[in-house]
């Protein structure tokens, strides 16, 4: 006789946005998993009719955690549409701003979002009360990481301070714009950023890397769960500089055991299981967007199914670290966490290299004219993975705006292929040791650093939306 239980976790805390997970557990093994994104605003529809120039500051408000990412992708899409070439110095400046966001995100995600899963924080503080007790570290080691939990607050915010030196403020920067950045670097600002980077690097080396290794040592079975498909994709970032070459990772994909260079023409979305109708179930991002249809039979989700050459792909730090050859230990819950921490160190190397290459006092801004009719695409990897913005301009205004976010890749629905998305695949077949406290589920989901604010920005005309279901 099988012992079957249905478990619901809502809210999944320590993620960005609102998500419910429903899992079916049979004999202590997850046999079915469903995640529902529960926040909807409709940015793509809001953007229609607005000035294309405003997209950079507007799309940042999709997400307060990765606003810089959206400013980069929208600037790239506008440059493509306007026919503006970004200079090498312009790329350095805005890539430094972008790298600062990676750093703030990774340090905060590790200490404030991940650590509470494994480390007992002082429970006399109501913020840290938990209802499970799977905390395995000896007191001395536990207390050291608790200390770093608080120390890290200053370190992660110093990454945002560095971001603001060139970006004006964080979250929601003003510095990234068409042509690179609004502000030029000065000797003083370069010096200040260098000193902040070196401090951050010191913390990563002396605290963050040892801490993740300690956690990995006491939770060894997490190297064996949360794998998913093992397909990895990146649009590339900190890559293809004229003078510096690639500092991190080129646009690459790993699927069916082989690495290949990304061909953007192979990116598709499918709406087979999502509440949309279109002439063709599978379409490319440049194509006509599908119309929402909440009553479509057989559909179960608002999240579409992005595919690369037909394959569902994981995106994010592990994908980049693997594809760049920096980390190839494995693909699992703990490998994903390790890759994020090690990527933070890599980013400080990149920032220092870019700072060295900056020429102070180079002005980048011009007066830009909005074309009457144009199309533009901006594809880049960002903190959580591959991000794409595609826009169409007609009569000098935004006529159509499409965004495929990293969390849409990771939280993908089943397409015509009926393959579950990477996140659900990572949950299915997980061993749950105590079904009354299925801590494994939250731990696995958090390694993807899901951003539901980003994944469910899509628009639906006048339809009842109860939830954004990812897997039935």
């Amino acid at each position: 006789m099988t012992d079957t239980e249905r478990v619901v976790i809502n809210p999944v805390t320590r993620i960005s946005g609102f998500m419910e997970i429903e899992a079916v557990i049979e004999n202590n093994t997850v046999t079915e998993a469903k995640t529902e994104g529960l926040l909807f605003r409709g940015f793509e529809k809001m953007l229609e009719g607005r000035s294309p120039m405003d997209a950079v500051y507007f799309t940042q408000r999709i997400c307060g955690i990765c606003s810089t990412a959206h400013s980069i992708a929208s600037s790239m899409a506008l440059e493509d549409a306007f026919g503006v070439a970004v200079s090498e110095q312009g790329r350095y400046l805005r890539d430094i701003i972008h790298a600062c966001e990676f750093l703030q995100n990774h340090i905060r995600h590790f200490y404030q979002y991940t650590v509470p899963d494994y480390i007992k924080l002082p429970e006399d503080n109501p913020l840290f009360e938990t209802d499970h007790n799977d905390f395995r570290l000896p007191k001395q080691k536990n207390d050291l990481i608790v200390q770093h939990y608080f120390d890290s607050l200053e370190v992660s915010r110093s990454a945002h301070k560095m971001l603001a030196i060139l970006g004006g403020k964080a979250p929601h920067n003003h510095g990234i714009f068409i042509g690179g950045a609004t502000s030029e670097a000065t000797k003083e600002s370069i010096g200040l950023m260098r000193s902040i980077s070196i401090n951050i690097r010191g913390f990563i080396l002396s605290a963050m890397i040892p801490d993740v290794c300690t956690i990995a040592e006491y939770y060894p079975e997490y190297f064996k769960n949360g794998r998913g498909y093992g397909n990895l994709l990146t649009y590339g970032c900190f890559d293809g500089y004229e003078k510096l070459g690639t500092l991190y990772v080129d646009p690459l994909v790993y699927a069916d055991g082989a690495v290949s260079v990304i061909n953007p023409q192979l990116i598709t979305e499918n709406i087979h299981s999502a509440w949309y109708t279109a002439k063709h179930e599978t379409y490319t991002p440049e194509g006509e967007p599908p119309e929402p249809d909440r009553n479509k039979s057989g559909a179960y989700s608002w999240v579409k199914a992005p595919r690369y050459g037909g394959a569902p792909c994981e995106v994010g730090p592990l994908a980049r670290m693997w594809l760049s050859g920096e980390y190839q230990n494995g693909i699992s819950t703990m490998d994903r966490t390790l890759a994020r921490v090690l990527e933070a160190k890599k980013l400080t190397d990149i920032i220092l290299k870019l700072l060295d290459s900056l020429v102070p006092g180079v002005s980048l801004q011009k007066e830009y004219a909005v074309p009457q009719k144009a199309f533009g695409a901006g594809l880049t990897d960002t903190t959580r993975g591959a991000l794409g913005h595609w826009l169409k301009i007609e009569d000098g205004a935004i006529a159509q705006y499409q965004i495929i976010t990293p969390s849409t890749w990771n939280l993908s629905t089943r397409g015509q292929d009926m393959l579950p998305g990477p996140c659900e695949m990572a949950l299915i077949s997980t061993n749950i040791s105590d079904t009354n406290n299925p801590v494994e589920i939250g731990r696995i989901i958090r390694t993807f650093d899901p951003c539901v604010s980003c994944a469910t920005h899509v628009y639906a005309k006048g339809n009842l939306i109860k939830s954004f279901k990812v897997v039935p």
């Binding site: 619901v8 976790i9 809502n10 809210p11 999944v12 805390t13 320590r14 960005s16 946005g17 609102f18 419910e20 529960l38 926040l39 909807f40 605003r41 409709g42 809001m46 607005r50 000035s51 120039m53 500051y57 507007f58 408000r61 997400c63 307060g64 955690i65 606003s67 905060r108 509470p116 503080n125 109501p126 913020l127 009360e129 938990t130 209802d131 607050l153 992660s156 915010r157 945002h160 301070k161 971001l163 603001a164 970006g167 004006g168 403020k169 964080a170 979250p171 929601h172 003003h174 609004t182 502000s183 002005s363 801004q365 007066e367 830009y368 004219a369 628009y459 009842l464 939306i465 109860k466």
Partner: protein, 298 residues
Amino acid sequence: MNETYLNCPNITMRLETASILVHKAIEAVSANIIQKRNLIWLELTGCSGNIISLLDGADPDFKCLATQMVNIVYDNSLMAAEGEFAMEKLFGMLGKDYILAVEGAVSTKDGGLFNVIGSYRREPITAYRAIKELGEGAAYVIAVGTCASDGGISAARPNPAKCVGVQDLLNRKVIKLLGCPCHPDWFMGTLAYILLYGEPAMDEKARPLMFYSSLIHDCCPRRPFFDKGIFAEKLGDETCMFKLGCRGPVTRIDCPIRKWNDRVNWPIGDNSLCIGCAMFGFPDKMEPFISFDTTKKE
């Protein structure tokens, strides 16, 4: 910036207000002069940008807030608990003393189902229901950021999720801290003032005067360019951004004095412009953000 400017009492006093208030509140809590009260940070229909901004607070910082100033009972971004246990902590506050900080607007479409913040006793809890149930019983309600204060970008036309600010749903005073995001000092200073003295002095739109009493334009270091008619023609210029569409002349907040992220910079200091993110009606009434056409007509 020269010292004469920094020594202006209007500027130095305002810079230190939040810090002084927070340190006073912490001292009073630790000496048992005032009670350590409960704080609920309720995230609704928004982008999590205000809690991230709060973590950027330097003096006072988030650690002071979470360990010495208040008991943070609920915050979905940071709390260790999850699922039903987290919701029990939230609704367990009903009938008790708590201060409610809200970030994000409230989606009202289809009974609020566009934003479900959790599941409690097998029922989906919409943002709409959460604010209705927790809003009336709170000792104070603080709307943190422009979405919570006025709908903000979540309510941008055509407002697909039918978002409104918190005030529209509550028959009580809601303190409004506009800004996209809200500066950590604005929140921490307001909260500390409440703990020490109760409701702070506010304007007719319920914005605390200690932060929202002057226009950006009146304190802008580029004001002399405006007065002399020297205007920027593109972003990146170091003169007055007025003709590119700067909303400093209508935006009531202290950014030029306070600046952001450890006071290291701010949008105009970055050779960009103010987009009026701390204004009622943002973003629709503040658009277009950037317009090169107005300079051309000169």
